[in-house]
Amino acid sequence: MQVVLNWGRRYSLWVFNFGLACCAIEFISASMARHDFIRLGVIPFAPGPRQSDLMVVSGTVTDKMAPAIRRLYDQMPEPKYVISFGACSNSGGPYWDSYCVTKGVDQLIPVDVYVPGCPPRPEALLHGIVTLQEQIAAETPGQARSRSGSRYADRPVTAGEVTRDLVAPPAQD
């Protein structure tokens, strides 16, 4: 039973591309004829987050964008998986010192596979997908993966909770 469920999940990952920057171009390249990740059962261009199983966050996540990412992730039905694609979404990348860039999308949502690169090759995404499929094959259905330990992982949140408050003005003497 478990094997059948995992086998089904593994090879029918409808993917929802959260393309925020240049890494999205590599994602598109991986979905086109040359690399063609439909071979691996990853079907691009899901109508929306409610019809998808896998979210690929490719690009720089800013604090302004963070509530939208969280909301769309909450709209995805279980079981759901996230691939963080590229240095910016892994940890902020070159912008880790910026005031407005989220230091890794894993601060907002639980991430299953991190693909390194700036940007990663399309083949690196395919390798990430294969890694994710191996993880799915090994999981117990209903007890999905990396979610424990993540701050917001196990409950839906409103956009207000992941939005940073306005910085208070300095105290006047």
Binding site: A33, R34, H35, D36, R39, L40, A87, N90, S91, G92, G93, P94, W96, G104, D106, V111, D112, V113, Y114, V115, P116, G117, C118, P120, R121, E123, A124, L126, H127, G128, V130, T131, Q135, S146
Partner: protein
């Protein structure tokens, strides 16, 4: 009339494509043919590293961490002077931060860093993207022959 001709030409293109083989690269089954100097991962040749910290200081992301300590070599000859040299304890590159600019490789004066074309090191845990010097050393096996300093001597 010209509409019909355009339609037929389009169908002709489609028919020609039918006779061609797909150009899809079957990646997990076949390895891609990458350019020799493609920027996949940074390899470390540990014995060349003098822990001079140039790479760590030049890195725009500060993704290189180096720890070293000094060791003193006793004098070789009678009345000679003791020599001290650096011993590398830790050389970490955080590939979740690295932007693959290659500045560390450019500035390394002792040819200890090289580009290797490997790209398949996606991880389930972000902590595993911090590669230590042993792991960076394993990438030396895939550094192209022409990039090694010995290639220059051979001519």
């Amino acid at each position: 009339m010209s509409g019909v001709r355009g339609l037929l030409r389009g169908l002709g293109t489609t028919a020609r494509t039918l006779t061609r083989r797909a150009h899809t690269a079957q990646y997990p089954h076949t390895e891609p043919t990458l350019p020799e100097r493609s920027r996949g991962v940074i390899a470390l040749l540990e014995e060349n590293c003098t822990s001079c910290m140039l790479c760590a200081r030049e890195c725009p992301d500060w993704c290189i961490t180096i720890d070293s300590h000094k060791e003193t070599l006793p004098a070789q000859t009678e009345g000679g002077r003791e020599r001290s040299h650096n011993v590398l304890d830790r050389f970490d590159i955080d590939f979740s931060l690295c932007m693959y600019c290659g500045i560390c490789i450019e500035v390394c004066p002792f040819d200890a860093l090289f580009w290797a074309p490997d790209f398949a090191y996606a991880e389930g845990d972000i902590r595993n993207l911090l590669h230590d010097k042993e792991r960076l050393g394993t990438f030396m096996a895939s550094v192209p022959e022409s990039a090694l300093p010995t290639a220059e001597e051979k001519g």
